[in-house]
Symmetry: C2
Subunit: 307 residues, 2 copies
């Protein structure tokens, strides 16, 4: 009934002194991506990073770190387990796995609880929930393999139920990649970035951007009943300002959005007619530092629906 746009996300850092993850072959990454149920569509590289655009989201590979996002009914925990088994758990400095509460049961998908059992069978760590059980919440696994020596510095802006003109445009047959980049101001805001983007049939848009060791990834699933757009990046807050995030929110007019930050504070945005918000943080003994905020606006969506 609804398309599950929310991405599951894995992140893994290896200890210094380990061989570079970028030396692993294209075939290797193809197998990792396939283990989650996705394919590689295209890839770009620069001196610091390889960025793969996937049939379901994205994979980024740095010398000592990978980050992979997959949406829909993918089983991303398989990829995490495969990586830990091949790299060796003693080489892992840190690892996280993130998954939003889904809109609907999909019998082919494991529950987070089942993912947790699978992941803990290869790497020690704990499961957490951030956000209220009855509202938007996200499940997190955070490995306990030692002290986190580098702040992750990731900001995720997850926007649900896009409304307004731009949301309509994303559903239209006229849309083009260049026009999407233009209306979102991507070249203007992310100067010097190399982009790789893809338009899906009948709709849906994915973009990877890299500049040095900085990445940006945007995924839009504009399907009427559960439209969604995620923007995430490791850009510093001098570039990724709250004004810039606010601009995306004003353009895409989500009914609700989640803001998640790892290793840096949440960027504060003011929004008129906020109905309700909740926020929380987790700081673990191993040095993980996670902040979450859920915001919702006036309700535009109908409260009843014929399925």
């Amino acid at each position: 009934m609804v398309f599950e746009g929310s991405e599951k996300i894995i992140e893994l850092g290896i200890k210094s002194g380990s061989p570079s993850l970028r030396e692993l072959s294209y075939d290797f990454w193809q197998r990792v991506v396939a283990s989650a149920g996705a394919d590689i569509i295209s890839h770009i590289s620069n001196e610091d990073c390889d960025a793969y655009l996937l049939s379901e989201s994205s994979l980024f590979v740095w010398p000592n770190r990978i980050r992979m996002l997959t949406c829909g009914a993918t089983q991303l925990s398989n990829a995490l387990v495969m990586l830990v088994e091949i790299l060796g758990v003693d080489k892992i400095e840190y690892s996280t796995y993130q998954r939003k509460n889904e809109y609907q049961l999909q019998s082919e998908i494991r529950s987070f609880e089942q993912d947790l059992v699978q992941i803990k069978s290869v790497i020690p760590g704990k499961g957490y929930r951030i956000g209220h059980l009855d509202s938007h919440h996200h499940y997190l696994f955070m490995a306990e393999t030692g002290q986190l020596l580098r702040p992750l510095k990731i900001t995720e802006l997850l926007m649900y139920h896009l409304t307004g003109e731009l949301a309509q445009y994303f559903r239209s047959a006229m849309q083009t990649k260049s026009e999407i980049r233009r209306v979102l101001g991507l070249e203007a805001h992310f100067i010097g970035f190399k982009f790789d983007d893809h338009l899906f049939e009948p709709c849906g848009y994915s973009l990877n951007g890299i500049k040095g060791d900085k990445y940006l990834t945007i995924h839009i699933t504009p399907q009427e009943k559960s439209s969604y757009c995620s923007i995430e990046t490791n850009l510093d807050h001098e570039v990724l300002t709250s004004a810039l995030l606010h601009q995306f929110v004003l353009q895409l007019k989500p009914e609700r959005y989640d803001l998640i930050a790892f290793g840096c504070p949440l960027l504060e945005m003011e929004w008129v007619n906020e109905l309700n918000t909740h926020s929380c943080s987790i700081n673990t003994e191993n040095g993980y530092d996670v902040h979450f905020k859920h915001i919702h606006q006036q309700h535009d969506l109908p409260f009843t629906e014929v399925l």
Copy 2:
């Protein structure tokens, strides 16, 4: 991680002139209950109705109508399909199937979408959602077998995340059936009712009550992480007053509650510190009349949790 206390509910009315459903044997109802994955624990009867207490909630059988509720990982749509197949779809005056959005994926359970395909294979009708997709919402199937000739007049009060002393008592080893009936004032409020109740191990309480063709059923799953209490009845609003419902809410102190009414208006309750509510109604061409309201209070629950 959480116990899924919310009941799935089926309701089925047969056309006048059909043989009484009460003439069907105990063995027959045992098979119906087993098809959903539950067992009969005990039963009571009066001149109008048979009330079965189940390992997962309740079954009520009147001459021309049945209503069955099952909680947890039961597959109640099986029972509806079995009943329609045995009774004959041409004998069905009306039918509904109700299911709340679950807290978590359980791979052994079908999705509502899958239930809908199964149900529509034996009886025509439509699926609906009531409530916001991102908050509490309930899925409904309503059969389209003709015009609904009798108002259902059912009120459901569904209370989530019970707090305070009574919630603690429901989790304690000291609880007794008679004390639960006493503190909830059941004998005092529901005069002349015949009751049948059961205390589960290690916790959980179910009660059926009948008086003529009126029924009352209460189910409490007090488990800490997802405590829940449902009260539903077809009592007239002269007996089931908003003051009485309000008293239950004040005693059980749920963080959130849903009020659902079929064939009668919602009873209005005032509650201090309401944070947010939403409400909606469905009126179908066939004469189904459903009202829904979701209310939540201040947040007592932690926003983060270690799983």
